[in-house]
Amino acid sequence: MNMEDYRGVWVFIEEKDGIVAPVSLELLGAGKWLAEKRKTELAGVLIGENVQELAQTVVEYGADKVYVYDDPIYRFYRTESYMKAMLACVEKYKPEILLYGATSTGKDLASAVATDLPTGLTADTTQLDVEEDTGLLLASRPAFGGNIMATILCKKYRPQMATVRPKVMKALSRNNGATGEFIHESIPIKEEDIRTKVLEIVQTTTQRIRIDEADIIVAGGKGLGGPLGFQVIHQLANTLGAVVGASRDVVEAGWIGHHHQVGQTGATVTPKIYFAIGISGAIQHIVGMQNSGLIIAINKDPAAAIFQAAHYGIVGDALTIVPMITEAFKIALGREGEVDARKV
């Protein structure tokens, strides 16, 4: 392997229903910075059906180039078809760094591509840097359930690949009308060659709860004592127009669905305001919410670790304090006497 042949930073662009996944835009932001440090170019790899138009979006978010694989065979994500496209592209144009969102699709694709190339793949990265002179990617990630952070290097193979957690990198602001190069690629691939078929796609959440996009999150933990206690969380959230979050223990206890879970094995969130109520502040929870704008913790134990992560803390019983906040808020916002009409 001749390292010198490998140049440029690439991002796998994840697309669904004609929309670029937010994590791909975030990675373009991070990728731009890495590419500038390396004085090289940033490219997106866009695979799908009828995706040409999205190539312009990719350029407007920072890419110099987009490699486009547009074919009905890519209508649904399938490991084998997407992997073949990505392998062909890597072999042809040889990037030195290739990033994927750590989503179910991105992780699935990256693991398959890494094995076939072969090359190293750093999982679930939360920090990225590059050595300007050597081009060595410094990819850092949590491991052991978030108890430690590790920096992983891939010295002898190219491209250097990593999956990156959603919400930890920042997208650039959109540069409308930016121009870039679109390179249309195709590979000989037939439907019969692909051993998996998507028979059906079932949407289970009619209204998607986008906890990772919420401005305000009211999260509750085991300290609320039970599903009934958890209602004070819903009431405050409704009053604030917030989304409800939860610790893993609450999800495991079945008080609320898993897509509300914040943390290492749940969502990484960055709302402007985050309430952590009756949550002890285990490291696995903290890693998911520590970048929130304003963190407010309510816990009856003054020594709870959550107070270390919070900007403001109230020591006390959530079951009395939270309803008081809800009421005070209704008054402050001139909504006293309002019924919880928005609760579903």
């Binding site: 090359t119 127009g241 270390q308």
Partner: protein
Amino acid sequence: MLHIVACIKQVPDTKIIKMNPKTNTMDRSSAPAILNPYDAHAVEEAVRLRARYGGIVSVLTMGPPPAVKAIRKCIEIGADEGYMITDRAFAGADTLATSYTLTKALEKIGEITPIDLIVCGKMTIDGDTGQVGPGIARRLDMPPLTSVNKVTELNKAEGYAIVHRKLEDGYEVIRSTLPCLISVEKEINEVPYSSLPNMLRAARYQPHIWSVSDLKDIDKTQLGLKGSPTIVSSVWAPKKPQGGQLLEGEPNEQIRQLLAVMLEHKELFGATAGGGVS
């Protein structure tokens, strides 16, 4: 005969693990070794499929000798056979080297009884990369199916499986040819308490134990640390967040202060604020 192999790993219990605050290293002695919780679901799913379709369930692990305990745990869950590959040469493997080594063992197991389905956990709780399953599938040229939360059908005679793959907002129904590899989510099943007969069998069970020399056509440069493109260059404790201030005074006074801070963000509290309700 239907042959399902579950890949399993012994891991330190990260819930109990402690960090040494002075050296910022992990105090491994503080953590008991357990069967990776996600792998218990993989074995349970294999056992349930055997109950539906007949056949046998084997489990395979790569690890140090004490990993025998994790195999016994799988026998308790109901697995028929256990295989362990253990050798100093495997130490320090990343996911690429791990999947290579496991593949060599799977080829050998497959020579004894051909494999129809491989089941992996979603991830481990120590490395938690989730990359080993797809890696094995690629090496054995099987379709990899990750995020599986239901197996609706397994048809050996006609050579296909139908599974549900979890998506961010629902699931997709996939038909795949057999053999294939699935990585399962924990909600795929609940692992019940072990039955007494399984516990008794597990206590006496001796797994098949192989070392490097038992594996055929092995390329030693692809094993362990040597065969791993990724290296862990440094390890540190995640940054401790800076504590903020505890509000003081009577509850009413605290809430007044809190409100004052929050109302600096008044624009957030419009009627349409937020991203929806549950």
